[in-house]
Amino acid sequence: MKLSKSDALLLHAVLFKHLTNTHSQRVETHHEDLLYKLEGYLLDDVEDEEEDVEVEDDSVEDVEAEDEYEVPEPDEFKGPSVLAKLPAVSVTSPAGDKVTLEFEDVGDADTVDVLLDDGSVILDRVCCIKLTDKSVELFDSEECHAFQIKKLPKTWSKVLQPGVLYGVDSSLDEEEE
C-alpha cells in the first residue's frame, strides 16, 4: 500500500480526531459514573443516620471497634503520570524476546500503555501492575503478561513495592473524597 504525504496527513487527522473524541467520551462516562456513585453514597449516609438515631449505644461500640482496627499503610501510588516517568528497563517478554520496556501516560486516569524502545505499543491500556522478585506483571483487560526483569532500577522499587498489586488510577483519591 502506497500513501502520499497528504494521505499520511489525512490518516493522522482522522486518528487524532477519533482519539480526542473517544477520550472525551470516556471522561464523560467516568464523570457520570462518579456522580452515580456519589449519589449512592449520599443515599447510604441518609440511611445510616436514621439507624444511628434509633440505636445510640451501638455507635459507641462502633467507635471502640474502629480504634482496634489497624489502618492499612496508605498506597502512595499516584497513577499513570508517575509510571510514565519511570526509566525504561530491559526485560524478557513472555515470548522470550529481549526488549526494552517503558510506560506511557495516555491521558486516561486509570491506564497506561507499555511501549518498546522503538515507540511501538506492545500492551495498551494496562490497568494493574505487580512487581515480583524477578518479573513485572502487567494486567490489561484481557490477561496478565509477565516480563522477566534482569536488573530492576532503584526508581522502580521506590514507586512499586514488590509483591503489591497496584491499580493504575490517579483519580482514586478524588473519588474517595
Binding site: M1, V14, L15, H18, T22, S120, D124, S141
Partner: protein, 88 residues
C-alpha cells in the same frame, strides 16, 4: 501568452466526521471525499474498547488494522509531525 496549468482542487466538500454507527460504535471517518482519493475510517466499540482502522485506496483495495497498530501509526505520525511542525 502564458498558459496556466489547469488546477483542479480535490476534496472541496470533504470533511472528517464522528458519529455513532448502527452497532453503537463510535466511528470517525472521512466524508464526501473524491472517488480517486483515499478514504479512512476508525471505529471503536465502547463496550470493550476495541478499535479497528480501515483504509480504502482509490484502486479499490481495503486495508484493516487493529487498534494497537492504529495507535502505533498515530504515535509515529504524531511524533514525526511534531518534529516537522506540521501538527496542530
Amino acid at each position: 501568452m502564458v498558459t496556466r496549468k489547469n488546477q483542479v482542487t480535490q476534496n472541496r466538500s470533504a470533511t472528517i466526521r464522528t458519529r455513532e454507527d448502527r452497532r453503537g460504535n463510535m466511528r470517525t471517518e472521512t466524508f464526501r471525499r473524491d472517488e480517486d482519493t483515499v478514504s479512512v475510517a476508525v471505529s471503536t466499540n465502547p463496550k470493550n474498547d476495541s478499535t479497528r482502522l480501515f483504509i480504502d485506496t482509490p484502486e479499490g483495495q481495503s486495508y484493516s488494522f487493529d487498534g494497537r497498530t492504529a495507535r502505533t501509526l498515530y504515535r509515529a505520525l504524531q511524533k514525526h509531525y511534531q518534529q516537522t511542525n506540521k501538527t496542530w
